[in-house]
Amino acid sequence: MASRSELEAFLIGVERRAFKQAVFAVRDQDAALDIVQDAMLRLAEKYGHRPVSELPLLFHRIVQNAIRDYFRRQKVRSLWTTLLSSLAPGRSEDDESDPLESLHAAGGAQAGEQPGDLLERTQVLEIIEEEISRLPERQRDAFLMRYWNELNVAETAQAMRCSEGSVKTHCSRAAHALASALKARGIKL
């Protein structure tokens, strides 16, 4: 069983990545925080007694389910909003801001780093995050689980409830799409 300190260490290790992953999916920082908060609570309440080795898989599955639940709720809400907005004056397009723009830029500038380098690094990060959030949902999930969270193919397949072949296909397509998009924007990794 995972002790309190082991569970805490696990959550500290995954919470920020899970938050960013949720931001890529829902494009709303507050909603992403809610998702991660619910996922952490669900993990501790339901699976807090499981061995530490099982936690990464369980946590990723819970986060995915929480994101799916969020979209289900949004769908219902947007239906009501559409119905009500047809009666009330609509919101101007100018009011809508891209949630990614509100994301805090990458900090942690190393001592001695030139401002130009920092700017370039921040811009590259922003573009990559933007392009990742544009990937189809399943491709993005597979790619981030495999290469960011460093789950192996079998674990990713288990978390996504699909075959290992599907994971490989999703990852390959995501990598190619991302590489093409970055190339088109003049970024070379």
Partner: protein, 126 residues
């Protein structure tokens, strides 16, 4: 550059973006502490055994698929077998009835006590 190398580079860049503003970092910290307060305690030995069995079956969702589905199929199979046997029995009775009705010997003969005595006697002689 192959897919793995590309993935590694992307991971390296994404990790640079893990710095959050203080408000978000604080909310995550509070959420983590709240989760830790609600950590499920270790179950009693008997419950732990049951939980391990369930876990090995893939949890409750795995249980429903791996145990309940075959059980449902078994029950459906037994019901089909029972219905088929009932049909066969009634078909046999119908066949005997049909043979009796189409026989040259009238049915009343079988009810006649003298005829049954005669059959027994004849069987004993043979």
């Amino acid at each position: 550059m192959n897919e793995n190398q590309f993935g590694d580079r992307v991971r390296h860049i994404l990790n640079q973006g893990l710095e959050l503003d203080s408000a978000a970092a604080e909310r995550l910290r509070l959420a983590r502490e709240r989760a830790l307060e609600h950590q499920r305690p270790e179950p009693a030995p008997a419950l732990r055994w049951a939980d391990n069995v369930l876990g090995s079956l893939g949890g409750w969702s795995g249980l429903s698929l791996r145990l309940l589905l075959p059980a449902a199929l078994l029950v459906a199979g037994l019901l089909t077998l029972y219905a088929w046997q009932q049909n066969r029995q009634s078909a046999e009775i119908e066949e005997i009835d049909a043979l009796l009705l189409t026989d040259e010997l009238p049915i009343d003969a079988y009810l006649d006590r003298g005829f049954q005595d005669w059959l027994k006697k004849r069987a004993a002689e043979q």
